[in-house]
Amino acid sequence: MSIDAIALEMRDITKSFPGVRALEAVSFDCAHGEVHAICGENGAGKSTLIKVLGGIYQPDAGSILIEGKPAAFSHPVEARRAGISIIHQELSLLPHRTVAENIYLGLEPTRGGRLDRKAMMEGARRLLGRLGSPISADARAGDLAIAEQQTVEIAKALALDARILVMDEPTAALDDTNAKRLLDLVARLRSEGVAIVYVSHRMPEIAAIADRVTIMKDGRKVETAPIGAMPTDRIVRLMVGRELSDYYPARPDTPPGDVLLEIAGGGNAELADIDLSVRAGEIVGIAGLEGSGKAALARAIFGDQPFTRGTVRFLGAPIDLRHPRAGIEAGIGFLSDDRKREGCLLQQSLRDNLLLVRRAFASPVRGSRAGTLADGEADTMMRRLDVRAAHFGQAIGALSGGNQQKVILGRWLARDPRLLVFCEPTRGIDVAAKAAIYQLMRDVAARGRGVVMVSSDLPEVIGVSDRILVMHQGRIAGECSPEVGEEGVMALAVGHRPAPLDVAREGALA
């Protein structure tokens, strides 16, 4: 394959946010007809780099050259005009609009000043066909499954017919078949001379498709090298910056205690036939692809999206988890995977965030300190959690993800539930904070509490869990021990192991 002219060059890009240096003098380039993969852990700065390229953030320092010419983007529209198309990790579809309208958002074809709906529909169908997707172009985006929405996002990027295509974890929500199809498409685009920046956590994909790899860590570029010089284990080592073994806390020798939670035949619109038990002192990992029902399972255990079928026993007694409050009252805690929308009270102080759960159950008319924790205690707790902030009266919104997560974890520790459900506990968190969170989870378990950890991050699931349940299509596809490794878990997750019959997620497509 011939790598011709450099399509994109970013030089010494630096970007800071209050309290965080997200990028520090990062340089990066990509040629026409090249797939340049960026690897790095969450929080390594990949997404920030892409947002700078897309004109969403303006860099504090550094320059961008497109086709050798300097460019500065103050608005996404300018990046698009420069021929850059980005598939963002965060979905940005309009739920009330049709697929075709979403695909052509900002690029609507017109004829004589009027929207050419026919062209939009046809174009949308063509693009979806190219992606091999059966999605109807006039369906409302809000009615689609997450994976389907991801497909629409990709179609949206393709519609721009860009010379530079940036894909931020495009296969995260796709099953194997669709992921394979996407990789074929990437290869085709490459042969058409498109410069492709490809961000992914999936090592096999990178090995299969990338021409060069850039490793990022803690906002810096670690290394750029051709894929031939980068075997997967080296990539991982560079990403993590140390051996995986000392990254995860040691597992205890003691066997787990009594059964805390027992679910039999649990099901709802997204789940079916869930049989599951969690014991005191153990960490149960739940893995699965996006849309496999692992997030739904966590929410069902907590009572946010309750089971409609089956029985749940907690601490030996039957319990009706119809509402989060019921779950909390029984002694279950829940850390959402969406810290911003479901976790933080962004404008409130660290103390107020920490005390939220305690306050939800305190007497309302007593002083805000009564029945909760004194400010001093809250502060002590945050110091113990090693929350780093200017002061604890500061609004939580200004903190980095890791520190936010520690405060929210503290919110639950302040109530000390018997069972804690973690959803993607380290999403968007830097490495140091990750290790700290893992240790905290282990500490919780060591105190005789049960921990359920739902995560899309396979190494994390394997590194932290005592045993692993793998979800596939709304059911538990199987249970395995961490020793089976990533391949073993993945095999279950994609349904390669003889899966229990062919089940549709009931109601999901109704």
Binding site: G54, P76, S92, L94, P95, R97, A296, Q305
Partner: protein
């Protein structure tokens, strides 16, 4: 906002209710029922129905404009004041002189557009909450206007009164104008890039920005359209009332009523979904209520109570299906 917020847990496909049609049917049933009940069969004849349509014009035009800003995720509380401004401006500039019609109309439209531009700019560029921004601009307008004029100012020439009183056959011009504006509005929303971008701005501001849409400009343009519609309402009122007074907009409660009919018409208060036909159906419901209350001879005070309850229930009828947090 992400899709996750708007998607119910159990992603049941919920088709949106055909709000415009339901409102239209409800209005028709109410109106015909009241006419039959009171034996005022004349109200079912052409002149009765034309009268009903005529009741829609003033609120209808301004509500069309309000639809645009609400779709964009903003809101406009200054329309009532702007209506007064444009009505007064029109009749003051015209002073009964037919030659001044064109300059007066032009001036009104320019001033309206400028007010819309300021509204949109304060919202989009200064980041002021649209309720406060437009409330403030409305207060400023009202103050300047009332300081300058304290009664009906000037008058409109006979020719200009044709706007409100002229007819084609038996159908008044103004009703046709409302219909035409609604069709233009619907076309704008459905068949132009601006329309698509407006829905995107109101539905998912960040997503729209990522798609390369200049959401600031869209917001400002929506406000300009809304203000122009308020300006047109002012012109219509000046024509219908023969003159403009600094209180015509406020007395008409066009600010709150236009918001109410837009929301009753199925447009989301947070933006991104809805359209002009729903709004027009909401206006029809309000006009029908006026007519029906008159036919039934409902006293003024119970009428107020019922209207308040109807506003709440009409919105509740479909809002109750909404699962997201409401404040």
């Amino acid at each position: 906002m992400t899709l996750a917020d708007t998607l119910p847990a159990s992603r049941r496909t919920r088709r949106s209710l055909p709000v415009p049609l339901l409102l239209f049917l409800a209005s028709a049933v109410l109106y015909v029922g009241a006419a039959l009940y009171t034996g005022q069969l004349n109200q079912l004849g052409a002149s009765g129905l034309v009268g009903l349509a005529q009741r829609m014009v003033g609120l209808g035009i301004v509500a069309l404009g309000q639809t645009f800003v609400i779709l964009a995720g903003s809101i406009d509380l200054s329309v009532a004041n702007l209506i007064s401004v444009s009505a007064v401006l029109a009749s003051f500039v015209m002073q009964g002189d037919p030659a001044m019609i064109a300059p007066a109309v032009l001036l009104v439209l320019v001033v309206s557009a400028a007010v819309g531009f300021v509204n949109g700019g304060v919202v989009a560029k200064l980041g002021v909450n649209p309720l406060i921004a437009t409330l403030g601009v409305g207060l400023i307008l009202q103050g300047l206007l009332s300081a300058s004029f304290n009664n009906f100012a000037g008058s409109v020439p006979e020719a200009f009164q044709g706007l409100a009183y002229g007819t084609i056959g038996i159908i008044p011009w103004s009703v046709l104008a409302l219909l035409a504006l609604a069709i233009i509005g619907a076309l704008l929303l459905r068949s132009t890039r601006f329309g698509a971008h407006l829905y995107a701005t109101g539905g998912n501001m960040d997503g729209a920005r990522l798609a390369g849409i200049r959401t600031d400009r869209i917001t400002i343009l929506a406000h300009v359209i809304c203000s122009l519609m308020a300006g047109l309402t002012g012109l219509y009122l000046a024509s219908r009332l023969r003159s403009g007074a600094p209180w015509v907009g406020r007395d008409g409660v066009y600010d709150l009523e236009s918001i109410a009919v837009v929301v009753i018409g199925g447009t989301l208060l947070s933006g991104g979904r809805g359209g002009v036909w729903g709004t027009l159906a909401g206006v029809l419901l309000f006009a029908t209520l006026d007519a029906v209350f008159n036919m039934l001879g409902v006293p003024a005070f119970p009428k107020q109570v019922m209207r308040g309850a109807i506003v709440i229930l009409a919105v509740a009828a479909y809002a109750i299906r909404n699962k997201g947090p409401v404040a």
